[in-house]
């Protein structure tokens, strides 16, 4: 139900249940606050939001954050009495926390320049507003922070002011704290787990160029989902800030993944690649220093939407003075992957260029040889050479973390025939491309081949690079093998063109060498059904039936059937026996 009230002479509409502060904010009237947060129940602790309310002829000074709006109410936000009240509040706050910028600014606005009293502790930042307490208890549900003691010794902190394992390190308290009084200190162990180059919050837009550009929730990091998982779904009321603040009401925690059955005539498999896991090459000490990062992590670091807004910084927050880039991590290596990942040389050169350009650091590239085939690639290589990057021909052998945190990269310089070692601030591992870990499952699902490396097999390496041996299933991009962006785009376009060709033609030509079931002989035992790599056999009315459109004619089912109820057309038992007898008759 809508109600009408007056704020500073202006008539405004409000919903029942809204506070005066909320209505004023919506109406564009500024009221200073410190202890207010839209996601939390108001407490009226800082007293800064006081206003004068005139109701039924009586005037009173109230905190607008707790005062419910009522019909006919008249609100005045800047009367002398209000201003005087706020000034007094700020005098006291400034006396308690003389060095907090937010309070200094507010105080200055209200003409308070000097604190009337001397502070007990000039470094005090906490104004005991309790926002953090409310966040920790009401939103996060961790119940770590609370008030203790009373009067002038009142403090906020965990029970007995001791370190507690109940703290999940979510950081909600630091975000809501108006004065910056709380800092999260990650312990050394936690630092490595914190994925400094990973997403910063549990809800985030995957990357700036994401399509569609909508945020996703990382359910492993989200407080609410973690609570739900911890309690086996019994509790799901923690936090909820994102839902509360989303004006479009786009966030629904109950949404589930859905499975849709869609009948199609063709499928393009474009499942992509997985970044090589650098832990599989332990000689490069990945994980032992935050300054050893993979190529993909560097991409995030140098991205203007990344955690450093594109500045290239070490974990210590300073630009590196020297950077080593190691080629062929997880590629061309008999211990990991024998194949060349094709893209790493070019991205490593690009990253060398970026480091030089943005920081001017010394860059050392450890490479076996540079693979830069293609238009403008070799030219780019030359340009990077001219930019003063040091190229060391020889694969990086190992990276060790020095006691001072610097990184020692060793390798053999094949040109000089000697072992070289450089000490750098940052190491970028040129990790290669690997097949998706579930490639075997996907290959089984579609009845397509999968090589030893896990990349899907095309029908012919030269002449049919996007087709598979299963009609109607096409490959696009790196699921078939490592390739760079222009090649992936071309490959994907080719796959799309194949599908379009099918659509235009409207019919499919199949090989006549397929298997056929003689229903009179089939007893329906089904031994043949799991044999078919193309799931072309099904039991229909109790007997096997081959879908000739799916069958590729390998004949494995024929050899499996004990009854001889399946014939491989053009390779029948009779024809093969005749051949056997024929060739043996004449020699």
């Amino acid at each position: 139900m809508s109600i009408t009230l007056t704020i500073d002479g202006q008539s405004v509409q409000a919903e029942e249940g809204q506070t005066v502060l909320e209505v004023a904010k919506r109406a564009g009237v500024t009221i200073p606050t410190l202890c207010y947060h839209p996601a939390l129940e108001p407490l009226g602790a800082c007293r800064l939001c006081v206003v004068e309310v005139i109701q039924r002829g009586r005037s009173q000074i109230v905190t607008s954050c707790t005062m419910p709006a009522e019909p006919g109410m008249e609100v005045r936000t800047s009367t002398p009495a209000v201003m005087e009240s706020r000034r007094t509040v700020l005098e006291l706050l400034l006396s308690r926390c003389p060095n907090v910028p937010v309070i200094q600014q507010l105080a200055a606005q209200y003409g308070v320049t000097e604190p009337p009293f001397e502070a007990d502790d000039p470094n005090e930042k906490c104004i005991l507003c309790g926002l953090c307490v409310r966040a920790c208890n009401d939103l996060v549900g961790a119940h770590v922070l609370n008030f203790s003691d009373r009067g002038i010794s009142r403090v906020i902190g965990p029970a007995f002011m001791e370190k507690t394992r109940d703290c999940i390190g979510c950081g909600a308290c630091t975000i809501v704290c108006p004065t910056g009084a709380i800092e999260i200190v990650l312990e050394k162990e936690a630092l490595y787990a914190a994925k400094p180059l990973g997403p910063a919050s549990a809800i985030y837009v995957p990357f700036l160029q994401a399509v569609p550009r909508v945020p996703v929730i990382d359910t492993d990091a989200c407080i609410r989902f973690r609570q739900q998982a911890r309690t086996n779904g019994e509790l799901a009321d923690a936090c909820g800030v994102c839902q509360l603040l989303c004006e479009a009401r786009a966030i629904d925690y109950t949404q589930q993944d859905e499975e849709l059955d869609i009948e199609v005539g063709a499928v393009v498999v474009a499942t992509g690649f997985a970044d090589f896991d650098p832990y599989l090459a332990p000689q490069y000490s990945f994980g032992k220093s935050p300054n050893i990062i993979t190529g993909i992590e560097f991409e995030r670091l140098s991205n203007s939407g990344g955690p450093t807004e594109g500045e290239i910084l070490t974990a210590e927050g300073v630009p590196p003075k020297s950077v080593a880039i190691l080629h062929c991590v997880g590629s061309r290596d008999k211990h990991t992957n024998k194949y060349c990942s094709r893209v790493c040389c070019m991205y490593a050169l690009k990253q060398a260029h970026l480091v030089r350009d943005k920081t001017g650091a010394d860059v050392f590239e450890f490479y076996m040889d540079i693979r830069a085939p293609g238009k403008s690639y070799e030219e780019f290589y030359e340009r990077v050479q001219e930019e003063g990057v040091h190229f060391i021909r020889g694969k990086g052998a190992e990276v060790t973390v020095q006691p001072d945190g610097k990184l020692l990269v060793k390798g053999e310089d094949a040109d000089l025939s000697r072992v070289v070692a450089v000490s750098v601030d940052m190491v970028i591992l040129g990790t290669g491309m690997t097949a998706q870990p579930d490639a075997a499952e996907v290959s089984h699902l579609f009845g397509i081949g999968c090589g030893n490396e896990g990349f899907f097999t095309e029908a012919h390496p030269k002449l049919r690079p996007v087709e598979t041996n299963t009609d109607g299933v096409y490959l696009a991009g790196t699921c078939q093998g490592p390739r760079d962006v222009p090649d992936t785009v071309a490959h994907a376009n080719a796959a799309a063109a194949e599908v379009l060709a099918l659509l235009t033609k409207g019919e499919v030509v199949i090989s006549p060498a397929t298997a056929e079931v003689n229903r009179d002989k089939c007893v329906g035992c089904g031994d043949c059904i799991p044999v078919c790599p193309y799931t072309a056999i099904a039991r229909v009315d109790g007997k096997a039936q081959v879908n000739a459109a799916l069958c590729k004619g390998c004949g494995t089912c024929v050899a499996t059937c004990p009854s001889g109820a399946i014939e491989a057309l053009h390779f029948t038992d009779e024809q093969i026996v005749a051949q056997i007898e024929g060739v043996l008759k004449w020699v």
Partner: protein
Amino acid sequence: MGVEFEPRIIAFMCNWCTYAAADTAGVSRMQQSLNVLPIRVMCSGRVSPEMVLRAFRAGADGVLVMGCHIGDCHYSNGNHRTIKRMPLLRNLLGYTGINPERLELQWVSGAEAPRFVEVTEAFIAKIRQLGPLSQEVME
């Protein structure tokens, strides 16, 4: 001492790997014996125990079953059944007194023409040493 024994070997070859390798071996003029009698099938998975036994029955002294390497099967995994069937069949031959060495399963990819020659020549030599199957079956 009569005419030297010339083994007759039925070789089942899959269309995509071994048959292609045999073809390449021929086109490349690689030296080969004439004892191998090829029977082309689409996949080594098509080779049923009956076919192998029939080859012996029809007078083959040895039977080679050849196809794509595991993981490289043109049909993804047709040869997975072959690799399971053939050891059982070999054992069965042995249980009834036929030397199991007369049946061999070999993977030869389309790119392995030299290996095709190597494998078949070694098999021919082995069967030559074992003598005619009729000695074992008909005696």
